[in-house]
Amino acid sequence: MRVPNSHPGKVEDYSKSDLRRGYWWRIGGEEGRITLALPSAWLPSFNRRQRVLMGIVLLTSVVLLVVVSSYLISDERLATDLEARDIPPTLEHPFGTDWLGRDMLIRTIKGLRLSMGIGVLAAGTSVAIALVLGILAASGLRLADAIVSWLVDFFLGLPHLVFLILIAFVLGGGATAVVIGVALTHWPSLARVVRAEVLQLRTSDYIQASLHFGCSRWWIARKHYLPHLVPQLIVGFVMLVPHAILHEASITFLGFGLSPHRPAVGIILSEAMRYLSAGKWWLALMPGLALVLLVGVIFALGDNLRALLNPYTAHE
């Protein structure tokens, strides 16, 4: 039972109830993984959904900033400059320089873009596998359901980091290995969600009525199932990308992933480890922080999307 916020005898002003959360406005996820606080007096009153949307726009622009700037900054700036070696963070080099004199900030941005590219690819493949297998499992063929369910249980039971390393090792390392490894280990949970949704939809009255009106199964899948699944898939995808990025970083760090010629963040970090004991802390800390921040931003984005798309909380 929910406790009412008002009782007969008093008419409450809705706009005031927004401010009952306090003086500060929150833009961003409800659980506040990343929240921005702005004094409410500065902003006109937006309803919750508008605020969530603003949060999404803001976070997306941060991500896009990273991507776009990495393309805009030419590779020349990444040239070695042996006279500027090993400089700790200064105004000119906010992230410092490495042992070859390259600016760490630029290296980090380019590395992040590469990591994100791999993350998006891996997450996309994972979602595609989950969609296909999920629908297959719920399609009504008992055998298909049995096989897919068994696979889901099997993969969920494996420690996925170990399995990931194994796949990357077997495939000989490199970007493809990482993408395949991440995709193969992360499809089960989303597949389960897809399967459950489709199973539930199949038995609902309106799908059966649709068949009765003569609509083909393809048409039903396109017009009924897909719109229902798309929100889940989008949220699943967005939440999987940072996961994939972190996995890529850790695999590369361990030596199974990308080669140093493709400097994603993992490489940057693993190379930096050698110099840590020499006191060159910025080589590992700055890229590491940047990675964590990016991952956090994408998670918050996923949170906001989920809040927006969840029909239960959508009307608060």
């Binding site: 406790v3 009412p4 008002s6 007969p8 005898g9 008093k10 409450e12 309803n47 959904r49 009307h315």
Partner: protein, 351 residues
């Protein structure tokens, strides 16, 4: 207690076969059902009174815009001890919200205005906390409202020590002829009829004085419906007040003393059950007469139009767009309550 008479659907039914009517209150219950001094002079013995209750919600329509919907608008209702008042209206039109408002379980984004008085005093959230489950109880539509993971005996709303509670539960269940050991069952193990009786028994346990029954017989067959409503009638005869929310006018008339006609979020008329008889001339509001005449046994008279949508209510009388007698006055402003021949009505042209 007013006996219903006349008309096809106005007769008071006899209890189901083989049941004895228990009229005396079981004194083993903690809370005695002693009537207290009536504080509300106007209505005399009203236990519960709802005055001009309005409930609205702000919802998101698709996209970013918000709109206000008003499922309940200036609703009036009064229930006294010993009577069954039926609130009759279309299914899903907001009648359940009324029940939730009385029990204080409205959703967080509800905006409420108006008054609810219990025993003459306003029903504040603090008072509700103390009374809910004890003096004011709720009989929901189905066992889906119970926790499916708890045994039913453990889910009765009564604050007693374990042994005393178990004893009371057993006594109440026995009274409703539930087999031994029912209290140890889970909700899904109960058959339809048993579930009904469990819900009613739970509501009567603590010596409840006001019982709100929300659509207690959704789509059931005649025999089970009769039995379920008969239990409620019994409770009223013991001196409790029962509010029955239903869409089925015929059922309501068999068991209720008074009927409040619910339309588009407001009560248009509060009539005695006897008024629903013959050709309906005893009724005051044109909608009540139309409702009576639409019953299959009374002519099956239909007329066009639909209830206004809660986000687009008309300015004046809510029924005016469909009313044959509507005049400019009706479109301009909502009529106020007019007491008439033992009931009241909101209509400029009430007879």
């Amino acid at each position: 207690m007013i006996k219903g008479e006349g008309g096809k659907a106005g007769g008071r039914l006899q209890p189901p076969e083989g049941r004895l009517r228990e009229v005396t209150l079981d004194t083993a219950f903690e809370l005695e059902n002693k009537p207290s001094e009536p504080l509300n002079q106007e209505r005399g013995l009203s236990l519960l009174e709802v005055r001009e209750l309005s409930i609205s919600f702000v919802q998101y329509s698709k996209g970013l815009h918000q709109r206000t919907i008003t499922p309940i608008l200036e609703l009036d209702l009064a229930i006294s001890r010993g009577e069954v008042v039926a609130v009759v209206g279309e299914s899903g039109s907001g009648k359940s919200l009324l029940a939730h408002a009385i029990l204080g379980i409205l959703p967080v984004n509800a905006r409420v205005s108006g008054e609810i008085l219990y025993e003459g005093q306003p029903l504040t959230p603090e008072r509700l906390e103390k009374l809910r489950g004890l003096e004011i109880t709720f009989v929901p539509q189905s066992v889906q409202f119970l926790n499916p993971l708890m045994r039913v005996g453990a889910q009765v709303p009564i604050r007693q020590r374990k042994e005393k509670r178990e004893e009371l539960v057993r006594k109440a269940f026995k009274r409703y002829r539930l087999p031994e050991g029912t209290e140890r069952k889970f909700p899904f193990q109960l058959s339809g009829g048993m579930a009904r009786r469990v819900l009613v028994a739970s509501a009567t346990l603590g010596g409840a004085r006001l019982i709100v029954a929300d659509e207690p017989t959704p789509g059931m067959d005649a025999a089970t419906t009769r039995e379920a409503l008969w239990h409620l009638r019994e409770l009223a005869d013991e001196g409790r007040a029962v509010m029955l929310i239903t869409h089925d006018l015929e059922q309501a008339l068999q068991f209720a003393d008074r009927v409040a006609v619910f339309y588009a979020g407001t009560t248009l008329e509060e009539a005695r059950a006897v008024d629903f008889s013959g050709d309906g001339s005893g009724l005051r509001h044109p909608y009540s007469k139309a409702l009576w005449g639409a019953l299959p046994g009374n002519g099956f008279r239909a007329f066009t139009g639909n209830q206004p949508s809660p986000d687009d209510l008309p300015e004046g009388c809510l029924y005016a767009p469909r009313c044959k007698m509507a005049t400019d006055e009706c479109y301009a402003s909502r009529p106020v309550r007019k007491y008439l021949r033992g009931g009241w009505v909101r209509c400029y042209h009430a007879t």
